[in-house]
Amino acid sequence: MARAVSNRRKTIATIVAWLVALIIFFPILYTVLTSLKTEPEAIQGFSLVPSFTLESYVTVHTQRDYFKPFMNSVVLSLGSTLLALLVAVPAAWSMAFSPTRRTKDILLWMLSTKMMPAVAVLVPIYLIFRDFGLLDTRIGLTIMLTLINLPIVVWMLYTYFREIPGEILEAARMDGASLWGEIVYVLTPMAVPGIASTMLLNIILAWNEAFWTIRLTTTNAAPLTAFITSFSSPQGLFWAKLSAASTLAIAPILIMGWFSQKQLVRGLTFGAVK
């Protein structure tokens, strides 16, 4: 009896959940389907069955040179992530393992830099970039993305490092490990998972950043965010091409995101929710 009831409940929950999930996922699904249609097909009205042509992908690649913005996105997101880690790992490390009275204040202050609206410094940053010849360069944008995400990277690493028990260090020290040995053989292996998660989240954030990447680039350093924005003034039939470009732009990050759900919660809430 109880079993029958719970089975019925499970069935209802399943139907409702799938319905809600499909509605939320629909815009993405429909984009992928449209990218597999021909242009006339794409505007013929609602249809979930494409003709599975790859012509839009070919067109996007040959006519609009998709490869360049894609590589820019890869370089910018990886470059800024590595640079941020390089600066943030020592900082998070020192705050986690030798905290002082001011550690908490420093952390909060770092977080508060995230609250500064980007647009408030648009003019000075634009002028600085112009004067130093950094506009539309990968280097300029990499530095920019590094600075934007640095507070999140420090915070996230800090919450991971803090969980490494201090006793292990003491034990290693008792066994006569040097500071260097301590770092290489004891701490690093324990810190790697946290660093990896931080890296993953930061790549996602950098890949999708859509203010500075659009405003500080034109063609040479323009990543996918800027490339897709150029589709906002359509010329002729472009639904299928837009879909193909969009699918390519979101696919890598979507897949990475699916694998990093847990880390995402932790990273974006600064460790407040685990």
Binding site: P27, Y30, I43, T113, V121, R215, S232, V273
Partner: protein, 290 residues
């Protein structure tokens, strides 16, 4: 316990991050503040002079100014309302036993990973387009006139798009919090005869308070700066109907070449962000200390 040596080393390790962020925060902000008191137009860069409070006055008397602040608050408020209420509902739903839960979860969190220009263009062209959009197809099938969303309800359309992007974030965090709810407590309440509704109000909601706080705080930071979604859909229009403060400043700066005016707007944006931040921190501070 820590020796002088390790303490010095710790400071040295911390220094690059602190210095970088300090420079990143102070230099541009100081420049914005300085420019906001100058007559400075990029079309006439040789002719820069002290303007006093003129830029602020100019920005303040611009009819678009109050509308843009109001629009900014509407976007933040509207999206928060939809994502928090929707997020709680979907999190509760996902917490039930069901078949294919992993796939359902993946589908629901996906919009979060879609970059803003793509999200906005998908909605603009495939979903809300009055001619070829799916909503227009549905309307026609039901015998109604298709709605021209971005012309008739520009701000509402943008709120929907942004809410779609942030709903997964709220859901994921609330679900994580929900799953840490003590099952024994729930069972005890059930035994004591508490109905589903009172269990939700007296057990689940208080348990979620902290997570809701975190969701509101973090989303507000990002929602105050909504930009790309407006750029690729309505471009702020019609008129100023969907212009928020960031968009107004961008227009003044890079389309009007008015460095002074845009900087005054930037300072106002900083003040607004700080007011919201202080207000939020205070309102939710207790919750976070727990």
């Amino acid at each position: 316990m820590a020796t002088e040596n390790t303490r010095g080393l710790a400071r040295l390790m911390l220094a690059p991050s602190v210095v970088l962020l300090l420079v990143w925060m102070v230099v541009p902000l100081a420049m914005t503040l300085w420019f906001s008191f100058q007559n400075y137009n990029l079309l006439n860069p040789a002719n820069v002079s002290w303007a006093g409070l003129f830029n602020y006055q100019y920005f303040y008397t611009d009819p678009a100014f109050f509308q843009s602040i109001w629009n900014t608050l509407l976007i933040v408020g509207g999206v928060l309302l939809i994502t928090v209420v929707g997020g709680i509902a979907i999190a509760l739903m996902l917490d039930q036993p069901m078949w294919g839960q992993g796939i359902v979860r993946i589908m629901i969190i996906s919009p979060f990973f879609v970059m803003p220009p793509v999200a906005a263009l998908i909605w603009k062209n495939m979903i809300m387009h009055p001619g070829y959009g799916v909503l227009a197809d549905i309307n026609r099938a039901l015998g109604f006139q298709p709605v021209d969303w971005f012309a008739q309800y520009p701000l509402f359309s943008i709120i929907i798009i942004v809410a779609w992007q942030w709903l997964p974030f709220a859901t994921l965090i609330l679900l994580t919090a929900l799953q840490s709810l003590d099952g024994e407590q729930v069972e005890a309440a059930e035994m004591d005869g508490a109905g589903a509704f009172s269990r939700f109000v007296y057990l689940t909601l208080p348990h979620l308070a902290r997570a809701v706080t975190v969701v509101i705080l973090i989303q507000t930071i990002f929602l105050l700066g909504v930009y790309a979604e407006i750029l690729v859909t309505t471009n702020g229009g019609p008129g100023y109907a969907s212009t928020n403060l960031p968009f107004l400043i961008y227009r003044t700066a890079l389309l009007g070449y008015d460095v002074g005016g845009a900087s005054a707007g930037g300072i106002i944006a900083v003040i607004l962000a700080n007011v919201v931040a202080i207000f939020l921190m205070r309102a939710v501070g207790k919750n976070l200390d727990k």
